[in-house]
Each structure stands twice: as structure tokens, then as C-alpha cells.
């Protein structure tokens, strides 16, 4: 690892943290659970790194470590995005997006038991 690579990575790291704070501060509390599961799938990007290592593994221990890393990261990404979508879909499927302030036109007892 040479100094210029290190500094490049550090620059990206610092800027990404600042950007992350800026963008994520605007997410409303209502969406904090989907935010967490969504960012959880983003960090499943370790899968990318795992692919690189899995491709170069050349001994027993490295095979095992690479395989476990692939399984972990795969579960993380697929499961994370899927469950986030499942949650956000519930937020989207609104009966009346304007809220129930008047509510008179709504079915009285139409609670969907899913």
C-alpha cells in the first residue's frame, strides 16, 4: 500500500462520510427502518470484494473463508434489498395519500388482515 493510494482512499472516505451525513439527515423518521435495511444491503457490497478474493483463493483455508464471505454477502444483499422493497411498498400503497383528515369516504372497517 503506497502513500498516494492511501491518500486517495482517505479522500474518498472523508468526502463520502460528509455526503452520507448530508443526504441521510434528510430522511424522515418514518422511513428509518427501511433506511437501515437499505443501507444494510449497500454494505453487502463487500460481496464485490469477496468475489475478488474468492477468485484468487488457492488453498484450503482461503477457499473456506472466501466461500463463507460469499454466502454472507449474498444473503445480505439479496435479503436486504428485497425486504426493504417489501416495507416501502406498504408505505406506498396508501388508501388516500392526502391523509385521513376528513376520512368520511373511507370504508369503515376495511382493515386488511394480511
Amino acid at each position: 500500500m503506497n502513500v498516494s493510494t492511501l491518500l486517495d482512499s482517505l479522500t474518498v472516505f472523508v468526502l463520502a462520510i460528509l455526503l452520507g451525513f448530508e443526504v441521510i439527515s434528510r430522511v424522515p423518521a418514518t422511513l428509518h427502518t427501511p433506511l437501515m435495511s437499505g443501507t444494510n444491503s449497500i454494505h453487502g457490497i463487500v460481496r464485490g470484494g469477496a468475489i475478488g478474493l474468492a477468485a484468487t483463493a488457492d488453498n484450503g483455508l482461503a477457499y473456506v473463508l472466501a466461500f463463507v464471505a460469499m454466502v454472507f454477502a449474498g444473503a445480505n444483499v439479496v435479503g436486504g434489498y428485497w425486504v426493504t422493497d417489501r416495507m416501502l411498498q406498504m408505505f406506498r400503497r396508501r388508501p388516500v395519500p392526502g391523509g385521513g383528515k376528513t376520512g368520511a369516504e373511507k370504508p369503515a372497517a376495511g382493515t386488511p388482515e394480511r
Binding site: 500500500m1 493510494t5 482512499s9 474518498v12 472516505f13 463520502a16 462520510i17 455526503l19 451525513f21 443526504v23 441521510i24 439527515s25 423518521a29 422511513l31 428509518h32 427502518t33 427501511p34 433506511l35 437501515m36 435495511s37 437499505g38 449497500i42 454494505h43 453487502g44 457490497i45 463487500v46 470484494g49 469477496a50 468475489i51 478474493l53 474468492a54 477468485a55 484468487t56 488457492d58 477457499y63 463463507v68 464471505a69 460469499m70 454466502v71 444473503a75 445480505n76 439479496v78 435479503g79 436486504g80 428485497w82 425486504v83 416495507m87 406498504m90 400503497r93 388508501p95 395519500p97 392526502g98 391523509g99 376520512g103 368520511a104 369503515a108 372497517a109 376495511g110 382493515t111 388482515e113
Partner: protein, 486 residues
């Protein structure tokens, strides 16, 4: 195309992927656009993974390595998909914790793998030229933080699933173990970094043992850190572990020289840090205080109230129904008890009935209601509550004075006026929902048991308050029936 061009192409794809992550997060700023944001982010992930595959394919991959990659992805993806499709919304905190654990674990494994490879080449043992002290530093940061996240998240998940008692568990000598792991872990790390930098020389076997000791310390530390933390503090713990995972992934990016990992990890770390701070503020406790743990008697403590002062007024289901049906503005205050009783659908049904009578209904959601940030909102969204009715604490608090009935279901400490008034109270200073400022209050509660903090709630003795003793689900059904009959 020659391999340099492939390299450039992959770099470009990584930039596109990172940009899509950021844009996706940006779209999460409103429930209306959040779903497309998540898909954008997923698209970025697909691009990044394809680029990575292209890159490794270019460098030549042995058949066995392809098998590891493909089988690993299919098995992992299948497990993740199955979990994601079947999990109940009440179990989201467990699932997020589990994903946290695997994310941290995968990041740690990346660095471990790197260490094994380097150590095998005796790069470390021989006192590597150049800056391999830095590389060792990032490897260690990744391995240690990733391992702490791994065991910590597993314990948190087990607590949330009820496999381990939710209440604080204090192991005898737990604090000594924690400190021992910190001291030993850090000492080992320093030796390893010095070895990596070439300042000291050890046999590669010794270095492996040292790393194994550090790894063990981190794994134990993760366990002893989370065990003493009580169930209701879980929102903070989950957020904090999320921040840890992000950091570990970033460190992994430094180790393997992948900028995409650095960016993704930084975004997750920022998100975890923001949520941790929000949750800690909402409980008016420092993060350190929560980690030290042992706070509160834990849920399920059925100690009877003693020092409420004044008498408690009980209301019948019919009285409560009349009060609600003839109000013009009702705010429902849901707490975790509501989720435990699976009563969110009952709440929604009652709200629909009231709305049909022209009553304005909204939901006041405390930041720590539920077991993870925003959990209550998801549960209510699942019960088909329109999200504009889900109101945040700061926004809804001024409205209580104009509210005819505040209906408290399964919430306790977050409505306790002692937090505002009583300097001697353990929760003094904690931001609460100003339920006591409503014109009248109905509390649906199983018994006079205390909340998580294990303290009395003067709200119950307030002359404006009527206590409706019932299980949340059953009580709400009775209320629905009673309102219908009016």
C-alpha cells in the same frame, strides 16, 4: 479490449454504482419516492457486482474459484430471499441485526483472507518494504470492528428473538472481561502493526497466533458489550452496530484497495452514526451510558405502582368508546406493547371508524417506540395507516393541547410527565410526548405494571386520565365493537 481498458471500464462502473447508491439514499427523503430510491440502489449494486465479475474473469479464474463464487452467491442469495419474504414486520429488528452480523462478518473475513494470503507469502514476517504497516492497520481495524459487529449483532438478534432474555444480563466479572479484551486486543494489534511495518520481526506462525488472539478478543468483546444492554435500548444498539458494520466495510475497502467499498461503508457508517445519535438523544442518555448498560428493570417487570400519589380512575369500554366517538380530534400514541400484542390492525380499524364519524385522527410516534429506529411506522404502515397520519414527536407535541382524547396503547415511559417536571426522576430530561396536555387521556394497559425504566408514571393518576385495563388487542376489539354500537 485489453486488460487496461477493462480496468478503466470497471472503475467507471464503480463510480456509477456509488452514484446510484447516493441518489437512492437521496430519494429516501420522502415515502413517495423511497421505493424507486431502493431500486436505484439495487441497480447500482448489480452494476458493481457485474463489474467485479468482469474484472476477476479478465484476470483468469480457476474452475474451483468459479464454483466457490457461484455456489456461495446462490446459497447466500437464496437464504436472504427466503428470510426477506417470510419475515414478519414485528421481527424486522432481528432481521436487520442478522444482516448486520453477516455484513460485519463478511468484511472481517475479507481482511482475514488478506492477512492469511500476505502472511503466507511471508510479506509480514519478513518485515515488508514500504507501507505495509498501514495495510496491517486497516486489516486489524476491519477484523476487530467486523468481529465485534458479528457477535454483537448475533447477541442483539438473539435477544430480540427471545432466545436470550431481553432484560439486561450482568455476567459476574463481565466488566473485567470487557476491559481485558480491550487491553489484550489493542496490545496484540500494536505488535502486529509494528511487525507489518517491519519494526519488529516475528515468525509468520507467531503472527497468525497473535491475530487469532486479537480476533478472539473482538468476538468476546462483542458478546460482553451487548449482553448487559436491555431490550428497550435495542434501537441504539442496532444503530451503533450498523455504524460499526459501515466502518468495517470501509476498512475492508482500504485493505483490498476498492474505492467502491470505501464509499459504501462510509455511507452506511454515516447512516448508523446519525441514527445512533438520534436514538440516544430521544432517550436523553449518552451512548456510553447505554453501552455500560444494566439500565431499568427490563420489560415484563410487574412491580405494582406505589408512589403514584392520588387515585387512579378506571373507565369502562363503553365510557371510553363514547369519549372517543364524540371527540373532534384524537391522537393515538402507540408503543411497543402494541406491537407485542399484534394490535396494530385493531388500532387501524378503530381509527377508520372514528374517521368515518368525521373525527381527525393521527398517530404520535416517539423516536424510540419499537425495537429499532422507525419500527412503529413500519408496523402501522403494514396495518394500512396512511403515512401522512404518522407524526413525529416535535411536530405533534404542540397539537396535544387542542386534542380531545389522547389514546395511549402500549406506551409508558415515553408519556411520563416526570421526564419534564421531576428532577429526581431517572428519565428526567428525556423528550416525551406531551400526552398529559390533551383534554382527556385514555390509557389502554394490561395492569398497573411499570414500563421499561421501572418507574411510576404520574400520568395514570392525572384526573384527566381514564385507565382502560385490557390486553391491547382484545381491548381495541372491544372498543371497535362499542363504537360501532353507538
Amino acid at each position: 479490449m485489453d486488460s487496461t481498458n477493462i480496468g478503466y471500464l470497471v472503475q467507471l462502473a464503480f463510480i456509477v454504482g456509488a452514484a446510484l447508491f447516493v441518489l437512492g439514499l437521496h430519494l429516501m427523503n420522502s415515502p413517495a419516492t423511497a421505493r424507486s430510491g431502493n431500486r436505484l440502489s439495487a441497480t447500482g449494486m448489480v452494476i458493481a457486482v457485474l463489474a467485479e465479475v468482469l474484472l476477476v474473469a479478465e484476470n483468469g479464474v480457476q474452475p474451483i474459484n468459479w464454483v466457490i463464487i457461484v455456489v456461495g452467491l446462490v446459497v447466500g442469495g437464496g437464504v436472504g430471499l427466503r428470510l426477506a419474504r417470510t419475515v414478519a414486520m414485528t421481527s424486522m429488528p432481528q432481521l436487520v441485526s442478522l444482516f448486520n452480523a453477516v455484513g460485519g462478518g463478511a468484511a472481517a473475513l475479507l481482511a482475514l483472507n488478506d492477512f492469511v494470503a500476505l502472511n503466507g507469502q511471508r510479506v509480514l514476517a519478513g518485515g515488508a518494504p514500504g507501507l505495509d504497516g498501514w495495510r496491517t492497520f486497516f486489516i486489524l481495524a476491519d477484523v476487530l470492528i467486523g468481529s465485534i459487529t458479528f457477535t454483537g449483532s448475533l447477541i442483539a438478534s438473539a435477544k430480540l428473538m427471545g432466545l436470550i432474555r431481553g432484560r439486561p444480563i450482568l455476567i459476574p466479572g463481565g466488566r473485567i472481561i470487557t476491559w481485558a479484551t480491550i487491553v489484550v486486543g489493542l496490545s496484540v494489534s500494536i505488535v502486529l502493526i509494528l511487525a507489518g511495518a517491519g519494526a519488529v520481526t516475528y515468525d509468520s506462525g507467531v503472527l497468525s497466533i497473535l491475530l487469532a488472539i486479537g480476533l478472539a478478543c473482538a468476538l468476546i468483546f462483542g458478546i460482553t458489550m451487548v449482553l448487559p444492554i436491555g431490550g428497550a435500548d435495542m434501537p441504539v444498539v442496532i444503530s451503533l452496530l450498523n455504524a460499526f458494520t459501515g466502518t468495517a466495510v470501509s476498512m475492508a475497502g482500504f485493505v483490498v484497495g476498492n474505492v467502491m467499498l470505501v464509499v459504501a461503508g462510509a455511507l452506511v457508517g454515516a447512516s448508523g452514526a446519525i441514527l445512533t445519535r438520534l436514538m440516544a438523544n430521544a432517550m436523553n442518555r449518552s451512548i456510553a451510558n447505554i453501552i455500560v448498560g444494566g439500565f431499568g428493570a427490563g420489560e415484563g417487570s410487574q412491580t405494582e405502582l406505589s408512589g403514584v400519589g392520588g387515585t387512579v380512575r378506571e373507565v369502562s369500554v363503553d365510557d371510553a368508546a363514547i369519549q372517543l366517538a364524540y371527540a373532534s380530534k384524537v391522537i393515538i400514541v402507540p408503543g411497543y406493547g402494541l406491537a407485542v400484542a399484534q394490535a396494530q390492525h385493531g388500532v387501524r380499524e378503530l381509527a377508520s371508524l372514528l374517521e368515518a364519524r368525521g373525527i381527525e385522527v393521527s398517530y404520535a410516534i416517539h423516536p424510540v417506540a419499537g425495537r429499532m429506529p422507525g419500527h412503529m411506522n413500519v408496523l402501522l404502515a403494514e396495518a394500512n395507516v396512511p403515512y401522512p397520519q404518522l407524526r413525529e414527536m416535535e411536530e405533534v407535541n404542540p397539537e396535544f393541547e387542542r386534542t380531545d382524547v389522547a389514546l395511549v396503547v402500549g406506551a409508558n415511559d415515553v408519556t411520563n410527565p416526570s421526564a419534564r417536571a421531576d428532577r429526581s426522576s431517572p428519565i428526567y430530561g428525556m423528550p416525551i410526548l406531551d400526552v398529559d396536555r390533551a383534554k382527556s387521556i385514555i390509557v389502554v394497559k394490561r395492569s398497573m405494571g411499570r414500563g421499561y425504566a421501572g418507574i411510576d408514571n404520574p400520568l395514570y393518576a392525572n384526573p384527566k386520565t381514564g385507565m382502560f385495563f385490557a390486553d391491547a388487542k382484545k381491548g381495541l376489539q372491544d372498543l371497535v365493537t362499542a363504537v360501532k354500537a353507538l
